[in-house]
């Protein structure tokens, strides 16, 4: 049977051993892992995994049934097109931080998208204290209309009281 690619999303209360248990079950069930992202967010642990498997969605769900129940995880499965080796290289990195307030991501990414940014990777975090939280965001992407257009967009974003900096990514191939 043709192997299918699935995107698995698993979320649950963080505890030690989630990755080991889930990936062991997948391995035992005949799954092959592709690219993944796994991280703790708040008190949750989140996993997104490209998984290659020769059965259907229900069979894949059964592979993880025991772990999902014992670890209290929510599981979502999507059948996806395409597989590995589809990387696109970012040519720009943007970091934005400031006192946390609603709309930082929406305003910044709105302005950047309009200036030609194609986001490939975005992570953000909240640090500081409960009373004075700070928002920190890193973006990597492709500047479709050049870096200067993005700098202009960031200058506008900075007027809203956040710090922004842009660094071109010049990838060395040796």
């Amino acid at each position: 049977m043709k192997k299918h690619w699935y995107m698995l999303t698993l979320v649950g209360k963080d505890r030690p051993g989630i990755v080991a248990h889930v990936t062991h079950a997948l391995y035992e069930g005949g799954c092959h892992l592709g690219e993944t992202s796994m991280l703790r967010m708040g008190t949750s642990f989140t996993m997104m995994m490209m998984v290659q498997y020769d059965g259907n969605v229900n069979a894949l769900r059964n592979v993880l049934q025991t772990e999902v129940e014992s670890l209290g995880l929510h599981l979502h499965i999507d059948h996806i097109e395409g597989g590995l080796h589809q990387h696109r290289e970012p040519d720009v990195r943007i970091s934005i931080y400031g006192a946390d307030k609603p709309g930082i991501v929406a305003h910044a990414t709105g302005a950047l998208t309009e200036a030609g940014l194609d986001i490939l990777d975005l992570t953000s975090d909240v640090g500081g204290t409960e009373d004075a939280p700070i928002y920190i965001m890193h973006i990597e992407g492709q500047a479709k209309e050049g870096v200067e257009a993005l700098r202009s967009a960031l200058a506008i974003v900075e007027k809203e009281g956040v710090e922004a900096r842009l660094t071109p990514i010049d990838t060395l191939v040796g």
Binding site: E89, R93, E163, T171, G174
Partner: protein, 176 residues
């Protein structure tokens, strides 16, 4: 003549290469073929002999071959590095690297910002080079190959941010 690039997980890439002892026509022919191979690769600014299965301490760097060179980046053009020895390292900077021997993956690597190195050219003449920025990175990447090291051995997390380096060079917007 372009040579075949060997790619990881070929274990031969992890071996230490031997010093060159004879500066002869055979060496110069090999270097010409090595250079052809580097220039045939998309965006290749450096190549080391072990990448083509020749386990001697030979590399070529030419960052001027890169289309859009980072601003303010000085370089020596084409440099042939035979038995190179890096003698001084200064500063640290993170940058993105890929490798013809590691297709479809790039990662962040910390390198010295400035280096001093000695190397022989293909005529057997010894030279000293002061390299910085992108060229220094390329040299360090290629010298690593001669010691069986890949950029994969030096990866730092993509979430690690050491990009502050440029702030003091005027890329910030003067608010500091």
């Amino acid at each position: 003549m372009s040579l075949e690039i060997i790619t990881y997980p070929d274990e031969r890439l992890k071996q230490v290469s031997a010093p060159v002892e004879h500066f002869d026509g055979e060496l110069r022919d090999f270097i010409a073929a090595l250079e052809d191979t580097m220039r045939a690769g998309p965006g290749g600014v450096g190549i080391a002999a072990p990448q083509v299965g020749h386990f001697f301490r030979i590399a070529i760097v030419d960052v001027s071959a890169m289309g859009k060179l980072p601003k303010k980046s000085t370089n020596h053009g084409r440099i042939v590095l035979i038995n190179p020895e890096i003698t001084e390292w200064q500063g640290m900077v993170m940058g993105r690297e890929g490798c013809m021997s590691v297709p479809d993956f790039t990662g962040n690597v910390i390198r010295a910002e400035k280096i001093v190195l000695t190397a022989f050219d293909e005529q057997g003449q010894s030279h000293e080079y002061h390299c910085e920025g992108f060229e220094a990175r390329a040299v360090q990447h290629e010298v690593d190959h001669l010691d069986g090291m890949l950029f994969l051995d030096r990866l730092v997390s993509r979430r690690t941010d050491l990009f502050r380096r440029k702030v003091y060079e005027g890329q910030g917007k003067g608010k500091r």
